[in-house]
């Protein structure tokens, strides 16, 4: 189960990751784009971070929707509508929920990915965030089909996302400003894929921290 407090922690933690990796994301974007991915994401998530306290008592779906609206209206570029759509679709997938089961998390991840596919028209192999988010969903689905719990399934999902991110390096970009570079886009890691990886990784980190915290408490009880 993923609860509402963990979702809030995740969003704060993702915002902090974006802030810490602002320069890194911008450097990746300078190589094949126009050097603003870190700057744009930081502008949006700084705003998300400051708005989270005002939605802290809402259900998970409402929180995700508020994040979506903030991103759409503050990020700009391609990342604004893509991340905005991811969070909007994720929000719709878990309407009214206070807690998320393994199946709910899967539906959230799948809905977010579907939203991005529809909005950006990118396919697997185009060197975009789809190359990170798509294998992550596949791995998560496979893990829960094997009976794994959310944390373990997400560990496999993040590993698949990381693999997907590595695989963007030799790809030829076919979407976004990187696509205009043609062959010269080869050899560079995709910036959007990198921020998408950070998004999944920060969710895992929050859940792992809580899992450890719980196990420590359980141990003390014994």
């Amino acid at each position: 189960m993923v609860n509402q407090a963990q979702i809030l922690q995740w969003l704060q933690s993702f915002a902090a990751e974006i802030e810490q990796n602002k320069e890194y994301l911008t450097q990746l974007d300078a190589a094949i784009g126009d050097a603003d991915h870190g700057i744009n994401m930081e502008r949006g998530f700084k705003k998300v971070s400051s708005q989270l306290p005002s939605v802290a008592d809402k259900d998970i779906s409402s929180i995700l929707k508020a994040v979506s609206m903030t991103l759409i209206s503050s990020v700009g570029g391609a990342s604004g509508p893509l991340y905005g759509t991811w969070f909007l679709r994720a929000s719709t997938a878990v309407a009214g929920k206070q807690e998320l089961t393994e199946q709910d998390v899967l539906e959230l991840l799948q809905a977010g990915l579907d939203g991005i596919l529809g909005r950006g028209k990118a396919q697997l192999g185009d060197k975009t965030m789809v190359d990170v988010l798509s294998p992550a969903v596949v791995a998560f689905r496979q893990a829960i089909n094997e009976g794994k719990k959310t944390v373990e399934a997400l560990q496999q999902s993040v590993a698949a996302a990381e693999q997907g991110l590595q695989e963007t390096i030799p790809m030829l970009a076919k979407k976004g400003r990187a696509s205009y570079l043609g062959e010269r886009s080869i050899g560079h890691q995709d910036p959007g894929g990198t921020s998408a990886y950070l998004m999944l990784q920060s969710l895992l980190a929050v859940l792992l921290l809580d899992a450890e915290g719980n196990s420590v408490r359980e141990n003390t009880h014994e």
């Binding site: 911008t26 300078a30 094949i32 784009g33 126009d34 050097a35 603003d36 700057i39 744009n40 502008r43 759409i72 209206s73 503050s74 990020v75 700009g76 570029g77 391609a78 990342s79 604004g80 509508p81 893509l82 909005r119 950006g120 030829l172 076919k174 979407k175 976004g176 400003r177 696509s179 205009y180 570079l181 043609g182 010269r184």
Partner: protein
């Protein structure tokens, strides 16, 4: 980084504040969300033309708001497309009941944000059509890229469609005209230096003293090829040849279908220039190249066109669609007909472009 700025994060807002102060007779600025609009908007019954894109391309687009051109412009952060709420609020501000034409450059961020804005405006009962500009011949193959970028033809389309809107064209006629201008326009650019985005603070790409970037866009993104510095005649020859030897280009673009109430894919194809065509020749500075050098480019361009039997009957020379302080230029050639010439010559009065008034 050496720039005339206070704080990088205040760059866009303070620039708009200065513009509003300088041209209060022509434009007003709304800051939350940001858009620039004509003081006389909305004009009842007139179709309103709105464009937008990242800041850093001045005078495009905000400098072209005014009589005979744009009704509103939505500036994003530097080189970052504006957001749907800006475009929606701008549409609400300037809609005179005739509907809105969004002129959109073919960049993924601009497309996605304008599409969301179109859906939002439609949801509020405002008629909106958007036309994509994709004129950059440096991008060869649309199947494996985002398609051609929207560059210099955007400026020409804004002038021509702005005049047509003032003369009473309806929304569908304007959309058709804008599409036709796009299909008749072709551009290509080169950079001699990178620009520096204020928020980043260092040049976007490194270019050696003896290197140039061919086929650049307008966002400081690297071009399609890096080569050694050449004479202006040679550079002009490369750009002009690429444009006039460009064969038919076909692509599929998404446009709003008013009858079906949904997005449809429209197949578009443009035809190459042919001997005897009347052209508008547009030599544009990327921001850091002086007019004297642009005239060197125009000199050679005019010679080549004459040799090819292409008649330049109108021209535009100067910084109109820039990339901050980047050194370099772009050439745009637009095929003209009587209707487009008449609209081109029509009066215009905006902060950065005025004639006939």
């Amino acid at each position: 980084m050496k720039k005339l700025i206070n704080k990088p994060e205040d760059f866009v807002r303070e620039s708009l504040e200065g513009m509003a102060a300088a041209h209060s007779d022509l434009i007003k600025v709304n800051y939350e969300p940001a858009f620039v609009y004509r003081t006389d908007a909305p004009i009842p019954g007139k179709v309103a033309i709105i464009s937008g894109g990242g800041s850093g391309h001045e005078p495009m687009h905000a400098g072209f708001v005014g009589k005979g051109m744009l009704d509103a412009a939505c500036p994003g952060e530097v080189f970052t497309s504006p957001t749907p709420d800006q475009m929606l609020e701008a549409a609400k501000q300037v809609d005179g009941g005739g509907g809105i034409l969004y002129i959109v450059k073919n960049y993924s961020g601009d497309i996605m944000n304008f599409e969301m804005a179109t859906e939002l405006a439609r949801g509020e009962g405002i008629r909106v059509l958007n036309i994509l500009i994709d004129d950059d011949v440096a991008v060869r193959d649309s199947l494996f890229t985002q398609g051609r970028r929207g560059v210099g033809t955007t400026v020409l389309a804004e002038k021509i469609c702005g005049a047509a809107a003032d003369q009473g064209y309806d929304l569908q006629q304007l959309a058709d005209l804008c599409r036709r201008v796009n299909l008749n326009g072709r551009s290509m650019g080169i950079a001699l230096s990178s620009c520096t985005v204020p928020a980043k603070g260092t040049p976007t790409f490194e270019l050696g003293d003896r290197e140039i970037e061919l086929g650049i866009g307008i966002h400081g993104e690297p071009g399609i090829e890096r080569t050694s510095i050449k004479s202006v005649d040679e550079i002009t020859e490369i750009l002009t040849r690429s444009i006039i030897e460009d064969i038919s280009y076909s692509r599929s673009v998404r446009e709003w279908d008013e009858n079906r109430g949904e997005w449809v894919d429209v197949e578009l194809i443009n035809s190459p220039f042919t001997k005897g065509d009347r052209l508008l020749a547009f030599v544009n500075s990327m921001g850091g190249t002086p007019l004297s050098e642009l005239y060197l480019v125009y000199r050679k361009l005019a010679q080549i066109c004459e040799q090819q039997g292409l008649q330049i009957v109108r021209n535009l020379i100067g910084p109109y669609i820039t990339s901050l302080e980047m050194q370099g230029c772009s050439i745009t050639l637009l095929k003209l007909d009587d209707e487009i010439i008449r609209l081109w010559d029509a009066p215009v009065k905006t902060p950065s472009w005025r004639w006939g008034i």
